[in-house]
């Protein structure tokens, strides 16, 4: 009982929740990226992967539920802590000199909220298929949902692609700070590793960014058709 109470009420407990859910979401983002990059292997590969997921509810649903729970907890802790943090500085300063604090670190809640909006759109776009209901009818030769063509159609719209690139950019800014913050929150930093972790977090964020945007960019550039 004490554990739960501390996790959900103390500032440090909430930070752990945020870090652990953040870590889970990060793993998803990486896994999702790997899955999506199969687009470069051609329709067969990615459609098979999609079909496999769709037809394996024992993997799909637990992950979805887990993911949803993580998102809820991540967002709840972030909003609750942000409100507490605002309250802790009742009166602001006349001269604002944010020593050492990076932009990424100061805007986590905003990058986070935009990501949330993006994910909502993204779900409507590719999962619920409500943005372009016609995607439902896309089928490949084996009668599987043709994810490949769906993506190509989806990203042919430069506005959609633009929004993706922008949101993914924010996601990666979120992660460039979030990943090293996560190690800090979980207590996995010390003098020896701190510097390395911070640098790796940035490199990873950039790689994730490049990985994701390669898809809309490739579609727009006509590399993937």
């Amino acid at each position: 009982m004490n554990i739960l109470l501390r996790l959900f009420t103390s500032s440090l407990g909430k930070k752990f929740l945020m870090a652990i859910t953040g870590a889970g979401l990060l793993l998803f983002v990486i896994g999702h990226l790997v899955g999506n990059l199969q687009i470069f292997l051609g329709p067969e590969s990615i459609n098979r992967y999609g079909h496999f997921l769709q037809t394996t509810p024992e993997i799909l649903w637990p992950s979805r539920i887990g993911l949803l729970a993580f998102v809820i907890i991540h967002i709840w802790t972030s909003i609750s802590l942000t409100l507490e943090n605002r309250a802790a500085r009742a009166t602001g300063y006349e001269v604002k000199e944010l020593v050492a604090a990076s932009t990424a670190s100061r805007t986590m809640i905003w990058s986070g909220l935009v990501i949330f909006a993006f994910v909502c759109f993204h779900l409507a776009h590719y999962t619920l298929l409500v943005v372009y209901p016609e995607f439902r009818d896309l089928q490949d030769a084996q009668g599987r949902h043709d994810i490949y063509r769906m993506m190509v159609f989806g990203f042919s719209n430069r506005w959609v692609s633009g929004f993706y690139v922008l949101s993914i950019g924010l996601l990666c800014i979120h992660l460039s700070h979030g990943t090293s913050a996560m190690f800090q929150s979980l207590g996995l930093k010390n003098t020896l590793y701190a510097g390395v972790i911070d640098r790796l977090a940035k490199v990873m964020a950039i790689l994730i960014f490049l990985g994701y945007i390669s898809i809309p960019v490739a579609v727009l550039a006509g590399v993937v058709k």
Binding site: N2, I3, R6, S10, S11, F16, A87, Y93, G187, A194
Partner: protein, 249 residues
């Protein structure tokens, strides 16, 4: 040199404060910032006005009493020094310097630049000690402490409890202070028996006082006059996590 000042004047906690402009003339660059304020105050007194109230005592960067935010930076522009060790040579002739008190909900204002930092004392009361009553100690060398541990504990113990970390943090978080204290004691064999209890109690008190949480922005470390490292926050998180998991009862 001459400088212009914009100083926060607030009569008492109830009355709203405002900035008032002053001029400090013929300032010697080797004066400390507080000595410059002394000069301004002498002038004010001679004009029968109330001098600016500011906290200070040792004037050598060890007591942690001085507490101004100078041009938006707690303890002023220099690195690893307190306000009392900030010298006027760090400013340029004719500059306008804005001086504000530390601002945080947990540090209510008292007067002008003076705030109430007793929240820190209550955090220590919650667990920032080793429960060893006078007379019950074994020989000093009975427990050997590896030099590296002792040095690291000393790094943390160097905290002067000034509160600049809180003042600088965008969340008014006291994490660096609390982490320094927790780490100092938790790192030493003498502090180990109460390790878990200490971190749980001190963090709970920290929350109770209304300090914010940490979003790892790092301003605290940058303004800390003793250069307390952010890594102590990670260490405290680790200690807290461990303690929390063991606190199932």
């Amino acid at each position: 040199m001459n400088v212009k000042l914009r100083v926060w004047r607030q009569k008492d906690p109830q009355t709203a404060g405002r900035f008032v402009g002053y001029e400090a003339k013929n300032i010697n660059p080797n004066m400390s910032f507080l000595e410059m304020l002394d000069v301004v105050n002498e002038d004010l007194t001679k004009r029968n006005e109330e001098p600016i109230a500011f906290d200070h005592d040792c004037r050598e960067g060890i007591c942690g009493m001085c507490s101004c935010v100078i041009n938006g930076e707690p303890h002023g522009p220099e690195y690893k020094v307190a306000t009392c060790q900030t010298y006027m040579r760090s400013f340029h002739d004719g500059e306008t310097i804005t001086v504000e008190p530390f601002r945080a909900k947990a540090f209510p204002p008292i007067k002008d630049l003076v705030v109430d930092r007793s929240a820190f004392d209550r955090v220590i009361q919650a667990g920032g000690f080793v429960s060893v009553s006078t007379g019950s100690a074994p020989d000093g060398n009975a427990i050997l402490v590896p030099k590296t541990d002792a040095d690291l504990a000393m790094d943390a113990a160097a905290c002067i409890g000034c509160g600049a970390c809180v003042a600088a943090c965008k969340n008014a978080s006291a994490m660096l202070f609390v982490a320094a204290k927790v780490s100092h004691l938790n790192l030493l064999p003498q502090g180990k028996p109460e390790k878990d209890r200490r971190v749980l109690a001190m963090v709970a008190q920290m929350d109770e006082e209304g300090f914010g949480a940490c979003t790892v922005t790092g301003s605290c470390e940058a303004v800390c006059p003793k250069g307390i490292s952010l890594n102590f926050i990670a260490k405290m998180n680790r200690d807290y996590f461990g303690a929390m998991l063991k606190s199932a009862r």
